[in-house]
Amino acid sequence: MPNSTEPLTRIRIGRDVSWIEPARRVPYGHVLYAAASLGRGPAAVVSELTALGFADIELPEVPLPLTVDPDDALLPKADTYNLSWLEVGTPVPLRHLLAAAGRQGLSPADAARRLTALGWTVPASHPLPETPDPRDIVLIRTDPRGNGEWLDWGGEASSGHVRKVARTLRCNPHTVATRLIALGIRLPYTPEPADERILEDPEGALGHVLTVAQETGRRPADIVARLSELGASRPGTVPDVREPDDLVILSENLDGRAPWLERNNVVGVRLHHILRAALATRRSPADIAERLDTLGHWLHENANVPATADEEDIRLLATVDRSFLDGVHLEHVLHSASRTGRSPADVAARLTALGYRLPDEVDYPEVRGAVRG
């Protein structure tokens, strides 16, 4: 049998229940939600609860509102796993404000105004954003574990935090930085509009730096310096003088655009890329290797760079995913032979000539695979 007092003392809110007992203090948030859900004024709810024996009812220092909007009544709901209400005498934490605003689809400024009108104190020291963004709550989370750790009013975020949040939200770090500033969070740098373009490449590849420098008329070294201020990844090498083919040979697809060649500090740049770049620019492979080395992409010392870039070598090397540090085994030779229509013996001989190490003592067959289609 449902108790007749239940609409006041046990209220379902989604998956949770807000319930009170006479022996414990009644949260003001419960009063507001009871009023909103029953369509009564908070003062009437307080009177009824008092009559039911609830002696200790939390109330604000300001006069009670005459009515409460049901959505507004959810704003004091704390951002915790189990349902609880924010104490009215405690300043509203930034985490709580942003979680509540996000839940209700409100801007932080709007949520702050509504909470203030209900009697809470929102200790923002400067105007809050008027635009809603439910992602705000993620922006101030510095540690996701347990109950989480959160930036509070006037806190400071590191550049690493900005980048981490950007990765979580899959957005540009500049977007994160400008919103954090708008929320009153301090950063180790002042965001600039140009940062958005500078930070577009998370790897801070040299090709990206040179492109941005070209677009903006700034020196590549200045772009790298800005990346450094922003705590972002940046190339270790910046050429003093740019050559016309630099962007082409630094691009994966040899088109002078992203995706850019990723620097590999363990095994170096692929010989395959050098030969393709040589063919695309009509320069010698040795010339390309030398220039890429200057740009921070070195070729492993075991590599034997052919005098000219040959299409067959390029087709062969496209099938090789072993580095000059790895052994190229029978399985890899057979794979390349399958993909190129060359015999395993021919493949083994050519890879050996290009500097690869083939440790297996195998008589590679001369028979060729048939290439379909």
């Binding site: 989480g148 395993p344 297996d360 695979g369």
Partner: protein, 316 residues
């Protein structure tokens, strides 16, 4: 390289993981991507219910063609509840999780019968994880591609897939897995599949990641299904010279375009025999991932669980 990775592309579409709390105004057209839904591992991450609610209330579900469900997103009942709105759904990936999110052997799945019934327009289905999985023998009229990735596919589920009526199925890939993780499918349980029954459109068959790969190879050497195939995979398992020998002495395989034997335990001599027997006929043979037998295996000779010293690619 791990075999168990997040899908980057699915059903010919780039996979877009829906970022937490992100409003629909920042998301692309519903039909332009394969939508990946997941939640993070922490209590402070966006709640799965909230993520699902936000996605379903803001994205035009009628235009969604492909869905990928990741960590925290139990699939079947959520999806069947939305059958009237997900009217364009053609491709589904259940359980797209990597090892650090959840080991493949502990990913829960369920009976797929309600799902297949709810989505007659489904063309491609990928399931990762076998725990609790079942598949209806009544099958599905339109499904063209089915892949079950598992460290231990329940034998009953494998048998039901083998027996299922799938008249449009062109590609079937089963990671059969290890007995210790719920696997144990026998050749006999796959008999209807090997016989070529109820899957007239089948062109690619993968019986993979199996500790009885040699037995499967021997069965395929004379299986009636093989002539209708253009590609065959016995990858990721414990294939040895014994199984390869059976393939070489069985029915012709030269009609195949591809034979994938990657992750194997073949000798170099056998690798060369297979390659020289099939490649000149135009069969592309994948012999990557040669494994060395572990000399000691595990257990001892008297132990009924004595290991062969050969291990499948994905188990736990």
């Amino acid at each position: 390289m791990s075999y168990v990775q997040h899908a980057q592309n699915f059903y010919g579409l780039p996979v877009l993981t829906v970022p937490p709390y992100t409003p629909a105004t920042l998301l692309p057209d519903a039909a332009s991507v394969a939508w990946r839904l997941q939640t993070g591992p922490y209590a402070t991450d966006e709640d799965a219910e909230d993520c699902w609610e936000r996605f379903t209330s803001t994205v035009e579900l009628e235009k969604v063609r492909a869905l990928v469900l990741g960590h925290g997103m139990d699939g079947v009942s959520r999806l069947t509840d939305l059958r009237s709105r997900l009217t364009g759904l053609e491709a589904l990936f259940l359980g797209d999780m990597e090892d650090e999110e959840e080991m493949i052997s502990t990913i829960d799945q369920s009976d797929l019968a309600p799902l297949l019934e709810a989505f007659p327009g489904l063309r491609e289905l990928v399931v990762r994880g076998g725990d609790g999985l079942d598949f209806p023998v009544t099958g599905h009229a339109g499904l063209r591609a089915l892949r079950v990735e598992s460290g231990g596919l329940p034998p009953e589920a494998a048998a039901h897939i083998a027996a299922a009526d799938l008249p449009s199925l062109e590609r079937l890939e089963l990671w059969l897995g290890d007995d210790d993780y719920g696997g144990g499918t026998t050749v006999e349980q796959l008999a209807p599949l090997l016989a070529g029954d109820r899957k007239p459109a089948l062109r690619h068959l993968g019986l993979q990641n199996s500790p009885i790969q040699d037995e499967l190879a021997a069965a395929l050497a004379s299986a009636p299904v093989v002539p209708q195939l253009t590609s065959l995979s016995l990858a990721m398992g414990t294939l040895s010279d014994e199984g390869a020998e059976a393939l070489l002495h069985g029915q012709p395989l030269t009609h195949l375009e591809e034979l994938d034997l990657s992750h194997h335990f073949l000798s170099e001599a056998m690798m060369l025999r297979i390659w020289t027997a099939l490649e000149p006929a135009g069969v592309r043979v994948n012999l990557r991932g040669r494994q060395e037998e572990d000399d000691e295996g595990w257990g001892d000779e008297d132990d009924e669980y004595e290991g062969s010293g050969r291990y499948i690619a994905v188990a736990e």
